[in-house]
């Protein structure tokens, strides 16, 4: 089943990372007959392994290797060593994600044209026509089994959604439903329907939520063309005198340095690890790191404008029952600068268990103001804000040579300052979120600060012109034809939508391009 490729086989595509980008790309290429070696820094965990306990699961799945932070974002103060809440495992963060699968709105592909000049923002249009994405979005929705798309039914609403929906209707919102979710509302694709168990963030033990870990990865392996090497941490991408990449050095599960030759290298390690790898691969020919002639590698880090609103009612809600993200309000996702900001935001229900609520409701807070909130945990409802944040050149992932990981490699520092547009959007969303719950009789509301980031975007952005970004419209680096970026780091702008569906659609599209270019002998 699993194809063993030789380290000296220079005909393989090496993909670094096996999440929504890398995991899907690996399967799509393998299905086309392309030989693929996927290097995954984490181990392999399947539904039987997942733990429905917040901290135990965090210990099992989360990427907790050292990172540092700076900037005015509150995460740098409250979670200084944990800028992101993402996964180190086969399948990447598709084990952890909530499943929200939304297409970009057309105007979001053309942010600079739509929003115009925004002071301090490094806006750019995506070099992709939104119409070109339609078919890829459909393919991605079918792959993920997204509800409310292509004839699939929606999920039923849980208690948390019912509170949210009633408040939304009271405010006059119209686009309110249980979401387009990569969670089966009926048995689909060999996976069962959602049992409303909660713990979507901890890995779905039923397999009802799509994850690359138990779909694309084993299917790719079954072709005989994909070999996934677990617990293998990529250290450096090598190149030849012509400036073409030739292979990847990585630390294997025993900590030994190995070199896998490659015909093509695709980087899909998330918006921190992907630029880190490019920067750590600096050479005499590429002293600023690979694919970095623009100086844009690591820049334009985006994390969505987020925040949460929790509310306490005089009667029980029990928000933890059922899907973690159980519904959405889309009315505010439009671009309407009269609200005081460009771009828009989605409101999506969210529930945390008591242990994570204690950690995230108001990090660092103590005393009765804090504890009386938790006293009414059973009567709480919650929602999450996800909106488009402005790309800024100074929001940036850089190497921190003062801190090394277990392999002695410099870690990343993640610098983030809110843009005034981000702040205006968040304040608007807090106000609307609180009004929604007030309309249902909330006795107390909590505009809760952002968690460590789950939507990590930018840092290797896509651009029409080589001087504006790192990769072209196919995720191919402007500088090196056989080096690709295949994850959310290639996002030109963030849009208001949860990014996974777009990452998957771009990976399917990129697989078509890579296979075609290989057969043309262009790469």
């Amino acid at each position: 089943m699993t194809a063993p490729f030789d380290l000296t086989d220079d005909g393989v595509v090496v993909i670094i990372g096996t999440g929504a980008g890398g995991g899907v790309l690996a399967n799509e290429l393998a299905k086309k007959g392309v030989s693929v070696v996927a290097l995954e820094a984490g181990g392999r965990y399947l539904p039987d392994d997942y733990i429905n306990d917040e901290w135990d699961s965090f210990g099992q799945l989360a990427w907790t290797d050292p990172r540092t932070t700076s900037g005015d974002w509150r995460v740098a103060k409250d979670f200084s060593g944990l800028p992101a809440w993402i996964v180190k495992a086969v399948g990447g963060t598709t084990t952890h994600w909530a499943g929200a699968s939304l297409r970009f709105q057309d105007h979001e592909w053309k942010a600079k044209t739509t929003y115009g000049e925004v002071a301090g923002a490094n806006l750019l249009d995506w070099p992709i026509d939104p119409r070109e994405m339609d078919d890829y979005y459909t393919k991605a929705e079918d792959k993920l089994g997204v509800t409310r798309t292509n004839g699939r039914a929606g999920l039923p609403g849980n208690n948390n959604f019912k509170v949210f929906e009633k408040g939304a209707r009271a405010l006059g919102y119209e686009e309110v439903h249980t979401g387009r979710m990569a969670i089966n509302s009926a048995d689909n694709d060999g996976r069962m329907a959602c049992q409303q168990t909660g713990f979507c963030f901890q890995g779905c033990k039923w397999g009802a939520k799509w994850s690359a870990a138990y779909t694309d990865i084993p299917r790719g392996e079954a072709t005989g063309n994909l070999e996934v090497r677990e617990n293998c941490h990529a250290a450096r991408i090598l190149h030849d005198a012509d400036g073409k990449v030739t292979g990847v050095e990585y630390f294997d599960a025993d900590g030994n340095l190995q070199l896998q030759k490659a015909r093509v290298v695709c980087v899909a390690g998330n918006s921190f690890e992907s630029p880190r790898l490019l920067l750590n691969s600096a050479s005499s020919m590429f002293p600023d790191g690979l694919a970095n002639s623009s100086g844009q590698v690591g820049r334009n880090y985006m994390r969505h404008t987020t925040g949460s609103v929790y509310a306490v009612f005089d009667q029980p809600v029990r928000m933890w029952r059922g899907t973690t993200m159980a519904g959405i309000i889309q009315d505010e996702a439009r671009n309407d600068p009269s609200r005081g900001f460009v771009g828009g935001y989605e409101l999506e229900t969210l529930a945390l268990g008591l242990p994570f609520m204690a950690a995230f409701l108001d990090p660092g807070a103590w005393g009765r103001e804090f504890t009386t909130a938790l006293d009414h945990y059973e009567n709480m409802a919650g929602m999450w804000i996800v909106g488009e944040d402005m790309p800024q050149e100074t929001n940036r992932v850089t190497l921190n040579s003062d801190v090394k990981d277990a392999h002695g490699l410099p870690v990343v520092n993640v610098h983030f300052d809110d843009h005034p547009n981000d702040i205006a959007m968040r304040d608007h969303a807090y106000k609307q979120g609180m009004a929604i719950y007030d309309a249902v009789g909330a006795t107390r509301v909590f505009p809760t600060p952002p968690y460590p980031s789950t939507h990590n975007l930018g840092t290797n952005r896509m651009s029409a012109n080589a001087q504006d970004g790192v990769v072209n419209a196919h995720g191919q680096s402007h500088d090196i034809a056989n080096l690709f970026v295949s994850d959310g780091s290639q996002f030109t702008t963030g849009a208001a939508e949860n990014p996974t569906l777009t990452i998957v659609a771009l990976a399917i599209r990129q697989a078509d391009f890579i296979a075609a270019e290989m057969s043309r002998q262009n790469i």
């Binding site: 009633k166 933890w320 029952r321 008591l354």
Partner: protein, 174 residues
């Protein structure tokens, strides 16, 4: 409580107790609930018993939940009773007691009103000691499975088949 809380020996321990603080019985090598109904006692090996008593009260004052009994707070800070952790904790509690004395009380446990103790805690909240204790409590207290039912939290439901047929949408007051 296994080996950390020896309920059966509480009565014996109390017979040896040297001092009764506001909330706790403090004896040679142990801290215990003062009220018979609380029925708990905790032996300490590396911290002075009086230090552990202050630590338990401090834990409650940081995250006060009146419906949560002292034994849960005691368990939440039990982990500091190690040779490695004890010196910093002893120093921190000494600092806390000194801050209490500066307000005219004999010590932290001699302050009867929570508001007075909280005022003292506010004065040291930027210290490494306070942040260590507060940060440790976030998991030490709220990640105790025995505490969850007090807040109504049900924990995992996979073993019972989820909530699809057990009330995921049973809200009836909207």
């Amino acid at each position: 409580m296994s080996n950390t809380m020896k309920t059966l020996t509480r009565r014996q321990l109390l017979s040896q107790s040297a001092a009764l603080g506001a909330s706790f019985a403090i004896g040679a090598g142990f801290v215990a609930g003062r009220a018979e109904a609380e029925n708990w006692a905790m032996e300490v090996d590396h911290l002075a018993p009086g230090t552990m008593a202050v630590l338990i009260q401090m834990a409650r004052d940081i995250y006060p939940h009146d419906q949560v009994a002292d034994r849960f707070y005691a368990l939440a800070v039990k982990g500091y009773d190690t040779a490695e952790a004890a010196p910093a904790i002893e120093a921190g509690v000494a600092m806390l007691n000194e801050a209490a004395r500066e307000t005219g009380h004999a010590g932290y446990l001699d302050m009867g009103w929570e508001r007075d103790r909280v005022a003292v805690l506010r004065g040291i909240e930027d210290s490494a000691f306070f942040q260590q204790v507060r940060g440790g409590l976030v998991t030490g207290l709220y990640n105790q499975k025995a505490v969850w039912p007090i807040f109504g939290y049900e924990g995992e439901s996979y073993s019972e088949g989820g909530y699809l047929y057990r009330g995921f949408d049973d809200i009836n007051w909207l």
